[in-house]
């Protein structure tokens, strides 16, 4: 009983009002920042519902005079845009990239984190040094390779590299795997686990947060990537969303269809918002645990 009293001291009234004031100011600042962040999104939504004529009016109207829901329909029925097809392609590439990155990178990171061998440190530095290589530096050799393999104008060149691990993700995962206690692995070995089993049944289940982080990062990168798809894809049937959306603004010979563009943008951020909402708790935890921002 006395413990409880100690844990909850008699509340100091003056102190309480002070705290409340601080909270009010805090919330006010948060509210202002939130509004500032939401405004562009609101403008995106409003523009996506405007007709072409209303889109050009200045000063712009905040709420559209006539809600042009047909803009969203237009995206899917207009044969020249092929939005549905591009959306599906982007989803295929992004999901396959996530699968590839998560498994290959965690496998390599597991090796670096759990085993010591001559030169392993050097190898790790070598892997990390590839982080310094910008994509345009490897663009042409990789393009030649995939063209020779006959994979040009297919989604495979966008997916396959992710199955060969990414240096950034290896680094992220290795940091986390190194924090797992050795005793766990010793216990596993005593129970008769082989090394692959230690990876599959012990390391992966314990690494939920960091795997979620890797999944989200690789999904976002693949989802937003424009340069590689532009290089590899020729036919409109294979285009991904970023190409389709860049093409909407492509010509200086006409008025850019900002309303369709905004409708497409709204739909294109959906998967990322959904993914983030699902994995948010684990995602933040992953960043905190690995010390990576």
């Amino acid at each position: 009983m006395s413990d409880i009293t100690l844990a909850k001291p008699f509340p100091d009234k003056r102190n309480k009002t002070k705290v409340d004031l601080a909270r009010i100011i805090g919330f006010a600042i948060l509210l202002i920042v939130t509004i500032a962040m939401i405004l562009p999104l609101g403008f995106m939504l409003s523009t996506s519902l405007k007709t072409t004529k209303e889109m050009l009016v200045f000063p712009p109207t905040v709420i559209p005079e006539h809600f042009a829901w047909e803009n969203f329909k237009e995206l899917f029925v207009n044969e020249e845009i092929k939005f549905g097809r591009q959306y599906a392609n982007s989803l295929i590439v992004a999901i396959m990239t996530v699968i590839g990155t998560v498994f290959s990178s965690s496998f390599v990171a597991f090796g670096f984190a759990r085993y010591r061998a001559k030169g392993s440190q050097f190898l790790f530095v070598l892997v990390l040094s590839t982080l310094m290589l910008p994509y345009p530096a490897i663009m042409i050799p990789q393009f030649l390779l995939f063209t020779k393999l006959g994979l040009h104008d297919s989604l495979l060149p966008l997916i396959l590299p992710s199955f060969f691990a990414s240096a950034y993700m290896i680094f992220l995962l290795k940091q986390f795997f190194s924090t797992l206690p050795n005793e766990l692995y010793d216990a596993g070995r005593i129970d008769g686990c082989r090394e692959v089993r230690l990876y599959w049944s012990l390391t992966l289940p314990l690494s939920g947060p960091v795997l979620a982080t890797v999944a989200i990062f690789s999904f976002i990168w693949s989802w937003n990537d424009l340069l590689a798809p532009v290089l590899y894809l020729d036919s409109q049937e294979n285009f991904t969303l970023p190409i389709g959306m860049a093409a909407m603004l492509s010509s200086k010979f006409r008025i850019a269809p900002w309303n369709l563009m905004m409708a497409a943008s709204l739909l294109s951020v959906l998967p990322i918002v959904v993914l983030f909402a699902i994995a948010q708790r684990r995602f933040v935890q992953g960043i905190v645990l690995t010390g990576i921002k």
Binding site: T52, K53, L56, V57, F58, P59, E80, M139, I140, F143, L144, T147, K148, L149, G150, L151, H152, R194, E195, V196, L226, L227, V230, L231, D234, S235, Q236, I243, A246, A247, L249, S250, S251, K252, F253, R254, I255, A256, W258
Partner: protein, 444 residues
């Protein structure tokens, strides 16, 4: 890891490798049929050619056409990498940032002359001087497809409100001068920080920034540029007439205050938009492609001649888009068949509608183009186009080597003048030095 697993991984890698390489033997020749790749920007006014393919393939059963595309911003990088990978398209144009001379100097273009023996430009109603734009040393490297000119568009509503007479369409009407345009502009300008009320008289977008002094009779580059493959031996940015020309151009914004600032333009029309569309600009000197969207404007528009400036010979920048055959093409004859098909009168007429208003190079088809714009008298458009051809000079970006880098330098370095942070005479010497260094580096 068990040996079994290792074997499985190794064998699946081998199988994958075999399957993947097996697909790589696809060539462009299938029996007697040849496939020609037409590479273009992904925009409806270019990709409409896909709709012309069935008709072409019907009359040329041994040729198949494949269209590949990329967004405008990525057009050049995709082209460069496909050339590097020996996977180059057969037919394309300079639709990205780079221009004809850049392609020519990089050795990307095929000399079409040997295949043009029985080709007569007159059969396709292409004027001889237009045909000559893409010749170097009497060798033809490109065949014109579309020809845009510089026009003046004006907002009839603003003219009516200010009680002004509409500007003329006849280039021979010499009373329509630059100074008169500025007078008109002053009467329409409301220069105030309040965006909702502000409006400006004229937006003078004559060519790119380095070509603009040409209108005032000053040349940024030495005359040998037009005969030596687009490599200027001298830069004249510090010569008094060039400095004066730039003072006049930017004086419209900062001294006369009749032109919109870049900040105003961006706030009413976004990063790359044309502020004229907002209805807050009286007159806009602009490429004729802006006409294509005229039916979407929220106000009545008219088209007029670019006013007479100090240079009596040049009043319009011409943008003649050609089609090239790339050097690595294995089927130049078939590629040429496709190009010839695209410039026939019938196909050029059809293309006007399919593209949403591309101006044909074929002068017979051009008659149809002039009557393509709602609310504008075809006779007026015809008069403006004919005057523009007469007083036209080809756009620098088609004629100067490594133009994309030069243009970027001008955009970046003149930004301080456009934003009112520096004076013309302060900025030009710096640009002169940087441009010299750039040209020395790229034209070695």
């Amino acid at each position: 890891m068990s040996k079994k697993m290792g074997k499985t991984i190794l064998s699946s890698a081998l199988v994958f490798g075999l399957v993947a390489t097996a697909c790589s033997n696809g060539g462009s020749k299938d029996g007697d049929t040849v496939t020609i790749t037409h590479y273009t920007i992904d925009s409806p006014d270019r990709t409409f050619v896909e709709k012309l393919i069935p008709e072409f393939e019907e009359s040329h059963p041994n040729i198949k056409i494949k269209v590949t595309k990329a967004p405008y911003e990525q057009f050049d990088s995709k082209l460069q990498s496909s050339i590097a990978a020996k996977n180059a398209p057969d037919v394309t144009s300079h639709w990205g940032y780079g221009g004809f001379m850049e392609y020519y100097n990089k050795g990307m273009l095929m000399d079409m002359t040997p295949y043009l023996e029985d080709f007569n430009a007159a059969d396709y109603n292409i004027p001889e001087d237009v045909m000559n734009i893409y010749k170097v040393d009497d060798k033809t490297y490109g065949i014109p497809l579309n020809s845009y000119v510089t026009v003046m568009l004006y907002n009839k509503d603003l003219f009516d409100k200010a009680g002004l007479e509409y500007p003329p369409t006849d280039y021979e009407d010499k009373s329509w001068t630059f100074d008169k345009m500025v007078d008109y502009a002053k009467k329409m300008t409301v220069d105030t920080p309040n965006l909702a009320e502000a409006q400006y008289g004229v937006d003078f977008g004559f060519g790119e920034r380095d070509q603009r002094p040409q209108y005032f009779g000053a040349n940024v580059y030495s005359d040998d540029t037009w005969t030596n493959g687009g490599k200027p031996s001298e830069i004249n940015l510090t010569k008094p007439e060039v400095v004066e020309a730039y003072k006049k151009i930017y004086g419209l914004i900062w001294d006369q205050k009749v032109s919109p600032t870049p900040a105003f333009s961006k706030s009413v029309s976004g990063q790359f938009g044309d502020p004229f569309l907002s209805g807050k600009i009286g007159m806009s000197v602009v490429g004729s492609w802006s006409l294509a969207a005229s039916s979407d404007f929220n106000f009545k528009i008219g088209v007029a001649a670019v006013p007479q400036g100090p240079n009596e010979k040049v009043r319009s920048v011409l943008y003649v888009d050609p089609l090239f055959i790339l050097k690595d093409s294995k089927h130049p004859k078939e590629a040429l068949e496709w190009i010839k098909f695209l410039i026939t009168t019938e196909v050029q007429e059809k293309s006007i509608e399919l593209s949403g208003g591309n101006p044909p190079v074929n002068q017979k088809a051009a008659e149809k183009y002039y009557s393509n714009f709602e609310g504008i008298d075809p006779e007026q458009i015809k008069q403006v186009f004919e005057g523009a051809y007469k007083y036209g000079f080809e756009s620098y970006n088609h004629l100067i080597s490594n133009y994309s880098q030069i243009n970027e330098l001008f955009i970046n370095e003149l930004a301080s003048v456009e934003n009112g942070d520096a004076k013309v005479e302060e900025a030009l010497p710096g640009i002169q030095e940087k441009l010299k260094a750039l040209l020395e580096r790229v034209n070695k």
